[in-house]
Structures are given as structure tokens and as C-alpha cells.
Symmetry: D2
Subunit: 358 residues, 4 copies
């Protein structure tokens, strides 16, 4: 991706010389997610174009120089099926990393496929081989978890693990998820896995809602065919008039926020995870929707190493009963990469996959 | 108070016959707080006028029928200096009281001086004697805590105890308090008492800011003489550019909310306690101020029995070094009760006291 | 049960006259749980024998005087299939109920079938009709949840809901449950329902472990055929050498506690719920097992109204996939009630059911 | 310290050549704390003798190669008065560092003066110059905070910040601190600073208890002149028969643990921080002291970067009213270093200071 709004080009790079502790991943699959569309539209600031997109990728270890270990100290070997955590160089020393316990707000953080320039190396999953610099967290895919399952979850699954941690779901809670994209669908699946008594997904189009039902939603509400008042009434009807215990915003719409504060019950929680970019201002009545409601609103930014590692455990547990592989609905080779972007931008499918070798 | 917007009248009532477990308080002091002004302006819905205002009061036990015990089971006796918790009839059975752990949202709650009609009995502190119905929580004032200290704290102190609980202040935190009224000043005092490394109060007029400094603020910022940008800059300058760890909204202004989300740091907390009535809508950018900031916003409604009991412990500890008695700046007898309301409404002083016997 | 260690007798009582808000339950099923065995053995102090045992029961509403509402304010009607929360008269005013937020430690609490004497009324589920005094929390059984499922869960399920709340399980955690009784099996089922990546049950006999597998355990370890060291090794092997994220003690054995602190990982959590009676002292090394391990040990006593209400939501969600009805393995009529006690005391089956009409 | 149980020797080392990002501290003061006595007695395993003791030190920056920044990114300069965090090389990638959020249990951690051999460099505060390797967290002492105040707090203050975080003190709580050493005294000071309504220190000898009163304790109890039952009675008398809301173990005694579970109230918290080494087994009754008591016991190991940074904020706030400088009661030069160890081992004074230049 040489710059925003121009076609993505295929370029050739020499294989990097690995430093001790470095490795090369032979990419099996990467993804085109909403962030990649934002990158292409130039909506993120400070991006060092040209970049190799694809912040999430999975494949096999192609080469290791010296020793490479996973988070638990286990040795990784060439040929292992692995994934890596795209966020790296988190400093571990600043206030965000330490006293504040919010490493996703560390100023030193860098992210594969987004903040690392192609001029620096193979830092993106759309490359056939990805350079895993020393310090990047690499983990083996659990047995039985396919590349398709992992990448179908992808960054959305990691974000969803973070969302669920922030949501503090208690057994029997009613959870409303706003948004039926990759994040919303994984959040719905994990809300159910975390003990929700009832999961309601609000979104569109119908095809994504149908998939949301397969992912674990009990009820879906189509925003294309309903008004906000009707949706509120439906949620109240499903919660004996109280509203949802937990609402999860994974829609990225200013209107969704205004609606979400109404859907939550008194003393409930509202996790905000979909406003990855600026989509304009929202208007709320603080008396009615926050103060009197005794509501908790929790912003949820990015994901941490721990969420990546837990996501693998979740996949191990649930890959049989949650069809993550269906989220990545269509595969594209590098020759068709601009088509992949176009399809992702059109929101026809929740996520396009990239197989840079096909 | 026969109805909104008409003068308060003095009426005589017969002393009630006490049921077993009931008691009469001989009022020493009650208060005119912002809520009473709201009541007078008719801004609260569902109020069963005529009412005897004064939801908070303190005095001596005048008569007890049968046994009256405090929360710890200790016997109370006639002549004891006591205070009572104005919220009563919380049901203990509904979801708000139990599974949701938010008893301040119980639908059965009633509040002295607000939701109890004068036609039902002496349910308000502006009466010379207040009827303490069975089940109302009554507690002895700690030795050395004067009526003036208790009532100077009053309902604002109880709310502040709740605020501090919600704020989860950690040692060394910078806390910004928006609002220099009775709630804000107690919140500033308690933020300091709870370990804040730095307490900044933003409000007006200057006289209240001066008192805020005596209450425990380290820095005060006058909103009458500064613009929001200048205030943000000052908070950033005092926090090495990060913003406040905790912001407490005790201002009851739609603009304060919009400012507060800017004053908090990444991963910080913002407790909303001042929007007791509807003061109109607020506009925020969810991406910038909640999601990317990974911010926690916590609505804080009313107070619970536990906050009342803790407030007494706080007064016992701090009545020497925190001048709560200065918040109740002026005392009024019943004959001057309309003057008291006028003074409170004018915001000249943070709180007017009522001595119904003078 | 006239007194400890003598046979239980069948006595006839007149139907009580109901006060306003009171009701009668026509018992469908009650249970003989471990507590009933303790009562029979006289191991609980302060029990006002004679008592009607059966602190948990379910059935249909036989008579209501006036209005009876559920926790959400919905009207209940005669003929409704309901359950009630056995703990009542929790005061809502003492420190335990309020400031400490531990209502299970309220000194005023009374419990059907345990602390209420038969001389006071029909306060126990082994009676054909149970008196539901005003204030007792009553709730409708969700559609599709059979009496057998509810009572199979019974008090153990409520305790398990409390345990899971205290355990703060995060997605992917490994959870070890010590004990394969009614509490342990429900805890295993709920740990899985709350997102555990792996659930290991340690207990005996094999029949209970087999049932634990049906309830949701992934791995079971038989204490009759293994030594503590072997069990520790197995847990370490299943957790890459780290130990369990969460250990739940539902065994009621002093040795189990000594073993449990070893099974938890560094920074893990250990919830203690099985020591309902005094089974002697335990010996641990505080340096090794608590301090250096940075371990959280959390006592978990009884259950609250909220746990009862959540248990019904959990049954509604999971009665199809978790076979609670299998826990109550055998039904007894009143004529065979002493046999029921004997079977329960022998630990042959996890729980005996009582149908007082058969 | 060439080896356990032999006299400490003074050795000369060449000044190290600094790598980029490295620095040299000119030591003003270091300390002899209980850990140094343990090191001398050989009670810690895996220590790579010979070592330069003194894990905590403060002084001025003597030399910097390249850029050295503090945690907030501010540039540090030669001549600055600074302290550094003794724990370094925490990996930031393992489960302890990430998913478990317990970086003090990271297997890669190293600690100045304890786990770093003198053969590797100047890794200890008893040296005149300490090598600050790249990555070590360095911070400026706040204005007005003397070297004596900082080192008087020392490692005990950092541990105390961690303890207070784990204790979750709420306004008005009664806090009992077991132990009147450097950790216990700082914990008492910080418990008060964090809002405790009452702080009780249990320990010996009387001189330390007297200093504890100056540090912030309200009540002290001398274990040399009282029996455990009398101490329990006194704590009950001070808490209306309930027991302490929070108990903090900073005594390092197996008996203290057995006593502490009795001192806590139902639903209270017990933080275990003093069992830094193995002092033998403790015996408790799990039914009585954990389960029925619904008690939280929280192990607290070491301290994190965030605790170091917060400790500096605490010193900035409280160095005027809390006499940390009195904890370091006596200063020793290198020539008298074995006397310093002997005094510290004798427990005559809470902490000996080391000025390696005198």
C-alpha cells in the first residue's frame, strides 16, 4: 500500500538477514479487516506509507535464528504452525505500562501492518514472509485449530477477548452487542462462552445477523428494518423491562452510542470498542443516561499480549462449536488484493482473507 | 412546602403516636441543599406536595417506643445525639437490591423530605421533631463531632463517600473535582483523605474555592475567569501532560461533562455525580474521549446505608482537620425559612442551615 | 427431626392462617443434602429442634393471601410453579448487609429447615406444604425447567453461583474443583459455563466423577486411587507446569485445603466453599503457598438472593446441556425419609430427593 | 558479600564502560534491610555470591551515555537526584507479565543486590557507584524529598504501596498491621494516608512502636507484653466486637498468620506480605477462619515499577508529616559495614543506612 487511495502494488523484497532471536513466518493466511480499509482511505494519522498491510497473520515458522520461545518458555521450531501478536515494542516502563496498567496506551507501541513502514522490513501479513523481530510474541496454534479458524477470528477475536474482560459478565446476564462485524460476532460468541444468559446482536445486513446466530447470538435485530425505539422496546421486552446488564458497542457509529446508553439497565455496563476512528460526535443526556442510571461506561482500546494468549485458549476450547472460519468468507491471492480491499470496503462480507501464495 | 414556587408555610402537627421500634428526633439542625431548591422550583417529578423538606437532619432522640438499635446492634437511648439515614424502605428483595448490588436504584426507596408527603407524618428535617419510622437507620454521632460538622457535611458528604468508593483512588493519584458546592467540597476533602497525591477543584465563586482550599484542595481553578482550554492546559501542566487519574463531576452542568472527559488521562476514571436533575444534553466524541482514551465513566446515584455509616467514621477521623462546619455558612430559624431558600437558590453560600427551634 | 441422632418422625400440623403477603407452597420436591446430614448428626450449633428439614424446595403455589410478587415485581398466582430462597429476615441495615456488602454474614438471617423451629410453623421442605412468610423471595421456575432439574441443583447450585462470582474466572482459565458432591458438580458445570478453558474435578467415588464428566468436567481425578503428589503432577502437566488459574474447594476436608494451595498457580485464586462445618485444622506454609505465590484465597459463605435469582437464569440457559436432574439420583416419600437420610449420609449418591406426597 | 556467614569485604572495581542508555549513579545512601540480613545468613536460594548488597539506593546521576529518560519520557541529566527501581529485566512477554498481570512473578526478573553477581558489575547500592543498565527504571526524587526520607522508606515503602493496593482500603476502615519493621511502619503510614479510620500496629520492641505512632498508627500493641487472646480482645474492643476490616501481615512469623485470621472481621481482608522467607508452617481452622468468615487472604509478593513510581508521589505528598527519615536510624560507612549488618540483624533499629563514601 504505497499511499492512501491508490491501488495496492505487489513489490519484491529480499529476505531479511535475521538477528539472534529473530524469525521468519511463511504466511498461510492474513486478513483484510476494517482497519485495512481505514488505512486505504487514509483515515488513520501518522501511518508511515508505504506499508505492507495485514497486521494479523498466521502460518508456519520458516526460519529461526538462535532460540525462539513462546510466552511460557517453550521452544518453537521451524515448521511449527504459529501466530504472532501484532503489537510490539510496548515499553514496559512508562506509566501506561506500569502504574496505570493500560499497556495498550503505551506511547512506544508499534503494530505490524499499520505503524511499521515497508521501508523498514517485512512488517505485514500480506507479505509471503513476515519478519518476526526479537521480542515479538509468537505462539503455537493449538492442535486442531485451523489457519482459517484463527484468521477468521483474527484481530476481532483479540479485541473481543479484551471486551469480555472489561464487561465483567456475570452468569445469567443479558448482553446486547451493537454491530455484526468481525468484532461484534466474536464478542457475541465470547459473551455466550463467558456465561451470558441471553445474547442479542443488533446490526446489519441480514447475512451477518444470520452468521451471528451461528456464532452464538440468541436474538438478532436488523437495524435496516427497525427504528431505535422498536429496538429499545424489544430489548426491554426481553429483559422484563429492565434493559441489558451489559451492552457492547462494536458498531463504530455515533448513533449506536446514543442508542446503547438507553439499552443498558440501571447499574449496568456499556463497553465501547467500535470507535476505532472518528465518526463524529454523539449527544447524550448525562442525567438520564449516566448519572441516574448509575451506569458504567468503559472504553476498550486495542488488545494486550494476554488477550492474544487467551484467544488461543478460547479457540482451542470452542473451535468446534463456534464457526470462526465462516467470518473469513472469501480468500484472495495477491493478484486480487485490490478486489479484496474493495469487497471489505463494501461490507458485503465480514472479512476478506489474503493468501499471499495463491 | 405546600407546592412548588409558593412560599413555605409553618404548620403545626400533632406529635405522632409511635409504633414499636419507632422514635422521635428532636431536630438540632437540618439543611437547605440544592435538592431543596430543586423541590421548590418543582424540578423533581412525582413529589407528593405538601412536603416537609429537610432530607438530612441531626439532633437528639426525644422518644423511643420499645427498642431502637444502631446498625451494629447497640441500644440507642433517649437523649442520644444521633443522625438518621434519609433513604428508607429499600426493599432488599428486588434485582437492584440483590443481584445488581445497586440499592440506590431500588424502586421501593423513599426519602425523607422528598418522597414522603407531609400528609403522612413528620418526614422532614425542617420540622422540630422528625418521626423515625421503624426500619430507618439511626446512628450515634461520634464523640466530638458537632451537629454543625455533621450537617455541614450533610447529604453532600454521603454522596461524596459514594463517589470516592466509585472512584477507586490509588495512592498518589491526581484528582480533579468539577464543582465547588457541598458535594464537590466534600469530595475534594475525601479524595485527599483517600490518598490522592494532588486535588484540583474547578468551580466558582471564589469564596467557595477559598473554602475548598481549606477543605483539602491543593489547587483551585475559577471557571468565571478561565476558558476551558486554559483549564485543560493547567491540568495537563500539573500532571506532566497526562491528564488527571480521576475526575469527579459534581457540577451538574452539561458543559462540565464535555470538559471532564478531556481532563482525564488515558485509562483514567470519570465519576458522574452532579447531574441530579436534567440540565440538558452533552456532546462528546466517543472515539477521542472514551474509546481511544480507554476511559471509565461511572455514574454515581444517591447513597446507601453503608455510605452513611462510613461518613460517620470519616467525620470521627477528620472533623479536626476538615472544616465541614464552614460549609453550612448561615443558620436560619423557621420564621426565616423562605430567606434560607432564597440564599441557597442564589448560590451565595454553599449551604444554609435550618434550626427549627430558633 | 425431633432432635439429633434419633429417627425423623412424621407429624401433622394444621394449615397456617396466612398473613397479608404470606403464601403456601405445595411441595413437589425437596432434598436431603449434606447439611441435613449434619443436622441429623447434630454438628450445627444453635439449631432449634424440632425442625422440619428441607431448606430447599420447589412446587406450586397453593394459596396466597393478598399480593405476592417476584423480585422483578411481577405478580405470582396460585398454581404457579415456583421456588423460594430459603434465607430470609436478612436485615438490610447492619454493617454486614450494608457497608461490608456481605449479607450472608448478617446476624439476623434465618434459614428454612435449619434455624426455624417446627414449633413456629411449616418452615421446611419436607412438609407437604411450606409456609412462605411475607418477605421470603419467591420466583417462578423458567419454562422448561423441571422440578427435578431445580432440586437436583438445589442449594449446591446456589452456592456454586456464589463460588463462580468469587472466582472471577477469565476466558480460558484452567479451573480445578476439589470435591464431586452436589456443590462441586454444579461448580464444575458453572465454571465451564463461565468460560473456563479446562475444568478438572478431583474427588470420589468414581460414579460421581463419571457424573461430573457429564456435568461439564474435562478431566476427573479419583482421590481413592491417587496420591496428592500424583494429582499435583497431573494438574501441572495439564497447565504447562504452572498450576491452575482457579481452584475451588468444595470437599470439606482439611487435607483438601493443604492440597489446594499447591494446585493453584502463582497469582491464582483459591475459593473456599466446602468447609461448612469444622473438620479440623489445616497446616500450610505461608511463605511458599500464599506470600511468594501471590495467591488470593477467598472464603465463600452461603448464598444471597441474587445468587438464587441468577441460578434460575442459569437453569433456563443450561438445563438442556447440564443434567442437574441426575444429581438427585433417588426419590423418597415421607415413609422412607430415614432411609433417605441414611443414603445421603452414606454418600452413595450425591443427593436424595424428598417427595412428601408420595 | 563474598558468601554467606563470612564478613563483608571492601573490594575495588574499575568503573564500567557504559553502553548507550546506560548510566552511573553516585550513591548517596543505601540501606541494610531484612533481606540483606537474610542474604548474609544464606537464607535465600540461588544467590550468585559474591554480590554487592544494597538493592535499594539513591544518589545523583554521575554519568549518562546517550539519553536517559524517566518513566514519563522526561530527560534525566547528570547531577540529577534520582532513585532507581531495583527489579529489572522483567520480560513483559510471559504469562505472569501479561495474561496473569503479576509481573512480580516473572521468571526473568532480576534484582539489584540480590540476584546480580558482583562478577557481572556494580549491581548493588553498597558500591560508591552503581551501574544502571539500559532498561532500569530511573526517576527523579521530588523536590524537597531528602535522600534520608527516600532511603528511610526504601524497599519497605515500595512493598507497602503494593500492600495498600492489594488491601483495597475503604474510607473509615480499621486496619491492623502486624509487624513494626520497615514494611509495617510504612504500611501503617500508608493505610492512614489511604483513608483508614483507625490504624493499629502490633509488634515490638517498644521503640519501634513509638516510632509507629509517629508514622501514623493510632494504637500500638506490644507483643512482648501481651498474649494473643488479649490482643484479639483489644482489637475487638476497638471495632465494636467485629474485628478489623483489613489486617496486614508484615511480621514474617508463622504465629502472626494464625493470629491475623482471628483479628479480621467477617468479610474482611488479610494481606500477607511479611513471609519473604520460610519461617515454618502455620495451622489454621479453615471452617472458622476462612470459609465461615468469608475472608479474603491475599498474598503480596515484591513490588512493580508502578509501586516505585507511586512511592515517589507518596513521598512528595507526605514527607512533611510522615517521618520516614527516622526509620533509617543510623548511618554506617563502608568501613563499618559489618557493624551495620550486625545492628540490622539484632533488630535494635528498624533499618541501618549505608553511606559508601563516608
Amino acid at each position: 500500500m504505497p499511499a492512501p487511495l491508490v491501488p495496492v502494488e505487489i513489490r519484491e523484497f529480499a529476505e531479511p538477514e535475521l538477528p539472534p532471536g529473530g524469525a521468519l513466518l511463511r504466511t498461510a493466511l492474513s486478513e483484510v479487516c476494517g482497519t485495512d480499509v481505514h488505512l486505504w482511505h487514509g483515515r488513520l494519522s501518522g501511518v508511515p506509507y508505504p506499508i505492507i498491510p495485514g497486521h494479523v497473520a498466521t502460518g508456519t515458522l520458516d526460519a529461526i535464528r538462535g532460540t525462539l520461545t513462546d510466552a511460557e518458555g517453550g521452544a518453537l521450531r521451524e515448521g511449527d504452525r504459529v501466530a504472532f501478536f501484532d503489537v510490539h515494542r510496548t515499553c514496559g516502563r512508562c506509566l501506561a505500562c506500569t502504574a496505570h496498567r493500560t499497556p495498550t496506551r503505551c506511547g512506544s507501541r508499534r503494530v505490524y501492518g499499520i505503524t511499521d513502514s515497508a521501508t523498514e522490513g517485512l512488517y505485514g501479513g500480506w507479505a509471503q514472509k513476515v519478519y518476526l523481530e526479537p521480542g515479538v510474541v509468537v505462539a503455537r496454534l493449538p492442535d486442531g485449530v485451523s489457519f482459517e479458524s484463527y484468521i477468521g477470528g483474527g484481530c476481532g477475536l483479540l479485541t473481543a477477548v479484551h471486551i469480555i474482560e472489561r464487561s465483567k459478565i456475570v452468569l445469567g446476564d443479558t448482553v446486547v452487542v451493537q454491530g455484526a462485524g468481525a468484532v461484534g460476532m466474536s464478542a457475541a460468541a465470547l459473551a455466550r462462552a463467558a456465561g451470558a444468559g441471553q445474547v442479542i446482536v443488533i446490526g446489519a445486513p441480514q447475512s451477518r445477523l444470520d452468521l451471528s446466530l451461528k456464532m452464538g447470538a440468541d436474538v438478532v435485530i436488523n437495524i435496516d428494518t427497525t427504528a431505535p425505539e422498536a429496538r429499545l422496546e424489544q430489548v426491554l421486552a426481553l429483559t422484563r423491562g429492565l434493559g441489558a446488564d451489559v451492552v457492547i458497542e462494536a458498531a463504530g457509529s455515533a448513533r449506536a452510542f446514543e442508542e446503547g446508553v438507553r439499552l443498558a439497565r440501571n447499574g449496568g455496563a456499556y463497553v465501547i470498542a467500535g470507535h476505532y476512528t472518528n465518526v463524529g460526535d454523539s449527544t447524550i443526556n448525562v442525567h438520564e443516561h449516566i448519572n441516574r442510571k448509575h451506569l458504567d461506561i468503559r472504553g476498550c482500546w486495542g488488545s494486550e499480549v494476554g488477550h492474544f494468549l487467551r484467544a488461543l485458549r478460547v479457540l482451542e476450547r470452542h473451535h468446534h462449536d463456534v464457526p470462526w472460519h465462516l467470518i473469513g468468507a472469501q480468500k484472495f491471492g495477491l493478484a486480487a488484493i485490490n478486489d479484496a480491499l474493495a469487497v471489505a470496503a463494501s461490507m458485503e462480507i465480514p472479512k476478506a482473507l489474503v493468501d499471499p501464495w495463491s
